[in-house]
Symmetry: C2
Subunit: 101 residues, 2 copies
């Protein structure tokens, strides 16, 4: 399923959460990741993040739909995901996994 | 349409963005609002936010689907929207508009 993950965590945990998610989903702007995760992958991600979070203070939401085409996405201002994409992939072709097949 | 709005703006603009959105969508956690907006309402929101943002530095994403049932939402940690909801509505019944009819 295609998923958007938004996190609201204390400052000292931001780096840990971002580093953990960096190779599992696609950073699109601060506090927001996108990407395809199977149900099993999602459960692993939630379990791992659960060990990082303070359940009383921190919050993570995952919105899931069958595919990224189930919703429309509109961006106002700068599209930070492009910048991070170039940093990560050096401007080459998006690899298969990111294409959301 | 049901919409999730996530914002990544400079610190000095956070208050303005949140105050503007407060009576148009539902705050669910830092950087994240949810709610039903018609196409016209969405355009008004984007135009107004466009006046607040620095297009070179700030970013707002709106994910839209036909209805909130088009996706599944999972929360890890504290559900901050409940806390804000109680503050806003004092724990009474959710009003019609928020129910997402």
């Amino acid at each position: 399923m295609f998923r958007v993950l938004v996190y609201d965590v204390s400052q000292k945990k931001v780096y840990k959460v971002r580093r953990y998610l960096a190779d599992k989903m696609f950073w699109v702007q601060n506090s927001t990741f996108e990407g395809y995760l199977t149900e099993e992958q999602k459960l692993v991600v939630m379990e791992s993040l659960g060990k990082i979070l303070d359940p009383e203070e921190d919050s993570i939401m995952i919105f899931s739909t069958e595919s990224e085409y189930a919703w429309k996405k509109m961006i106002l201002g700068v599209d930070k995901s492009c910048i991070s994409y170039l940093l990560k992939y050096g401007g080459g072709e998006k690899d298969e996994e990111q294409e959301g097949n």
